[in-house]
Symmetry: C2
Subunit: 271 residues, 2 copies
């Protein structure tokens, strides 16, 4: 851990420029295998859950409040850079920034064999686009003890908006990113895990009546506007729906996912 001897104020500072590029560009994140965090809580959650923080930027004001704790949590690989409050405002994505920013290394993605357990409960997000929904789903998966979330053709989990919306659950829930649903189906089947497709209406099972057996289960959640494509839903063992008495469009994708994860977690609570 090395602390810069003086406050950085220049927007042209290479580390600051690196942070901004990671924040703005998915391509840079993918190349560098790093992403950014903003805010005391998120950074401290990351450190407590063993994430690798390579750079920690902290403003003069924030140093007084959080400096000691964050520096004691951070490891040897962390470079601590003190920045001016002015520069903090420049780097911030949120309106009332706390003045704490970090560059975090992406965890090495687990192999399918390490990720999938035979009796596990999983959520597959297929073409889910909204960062707020993705974050809410990860938080709920965290609370309900879901064994992992698979992002298939969905929004970038390492975009600042998704990271912020997960409120730290990103560091607690195993996540796997996969660009091909065929791989997901193949691996789930190989591990004896059944797939449920969340659909709005169809000849379906009713959520709440589905019995969960001993073996693993994955619930597939589709895109906010279009749901799951027929090619995906027809390949699942079950099509499952939340019966609605009111306005169907009012059930947001994250809420639907939450209710289905709840049913899955509850049905398998002996695990």
């Amino acid at each position: 851990m090395g602390i810069t001897p003086q406050y950085i104020s220049a927007k042209e500072n290479p580390s600051v420029k690196f942070y901004r590029k990671l924040s703005e560009s998915k391509k840079t994140r993918t190349q560098e295998k790093c992403f950014v965090l903003e805010g005391y809580r998120l950074v401290s959650d990351a450190l407590k859950n063993g994430a690798e923080i390579t750079m920690l930027f902290i403003t003069e004001n924030a140093y007084e409040r959080f400096g000691e704790e964050l520096c004691s949590l951070s490891g040897e690989v962390t470079r601590v850079l003190c920045i001016t409050d002015e520069l903090g405002k420049y780097m911030a994505e949120t309106e009332n920034t706390q003045g704490v920013f970090a560059v975090c290394r992406m965890p090495v993605q687990k192999s399918w064999n390490d990720f999938l357990k035979k009796e596990g409960a999983y959520t597959v997000l297929h073409q889910l686009q909204d960062p707020g929904n993705a974050g809410m789903i990860l938080r709920t998966a965290d609370a309900l003890g879901i064994d992992g979330v698979i992002f298939c053709k969905s929004c970038d989990i390492y975009s600042p908006k998704v990271v912020r919306a997960t409120m730290g659950s990103l560091f607690r829930v195993p996540v796997l990113v996969c660009s091909d649903e065929n791989d997901v189906f193949y691996q789930l089947e190989e591990h004896g895990i059944e797939s449920d497709a969340a659909v709005v209406r169809d000849e379906t099972d009713i959520a709440g009546e589905r019995k969960y057996a001993e073996n693993g289960c994955a619930v597939w959640i589709g895109n906010e506007g279009n749901g799951l494509p027929e090619t995906v839903s027809s390949r699942c063992s079950r099509r499952i729906t939340i019966p609605m008495y009111g306005n169907i469009e009012s059930l947001n994708a994250a809420m639907a996912a939450g209710i289905l994860m709840w049913e899955m977690a509850k049905g398998r609570k002996g695990k």
Copy 2:
């Protein structure tokens, strides 16, 4: 329905000033018994659900796209005011405004006797503060066919943020605002409706194991940070919790409310 003969461009126009004041001030909303709507979808949902729109502001661009439909939906009490695109930007709360704004009259609050049905399913929000959560809960109540939502000491349902977050469900779900939980308990008891308190952990019933009988039920949801005060939860017939295997703080208030409303709706689906 009267349409202004020319485009209004002045920020000082009395109707525009009235709109802005309603948007910004709860006091004005309460005095005038009116609130504001922004966006085509929200305004058309309001009109389709019989809300009383007294003023409809529409920009030149928006008139081409939505003018005919909105004018045919709106009633005789609606004054249609054409505004310049520039003024539309000034009035907008959202970044990409559609150029459609309305002043809507608050519905007359139902009496308790009209609002509560003996076998109904209700949600009581107690000191809930976040507009996004309030909106998400109203949307979910709408989807699941909850009979009504009671706002007790909670955020203002007529603030532009809450109205926007409800995405039209405000016009479909019966809502009652009450500033005293004693009144709420008294009325629920009078109507034979049982109260469940949503609590994080305690000597409680487990959500999903609670059996819902024939009579009505209301689930009480507390403040985002503090939950329900002991004085409220101890007065409920049951304390009910969502068992969590992971990080308790990860379950957001709206998601918890959604899961409990789902259990309540499902348990009473014969209604």
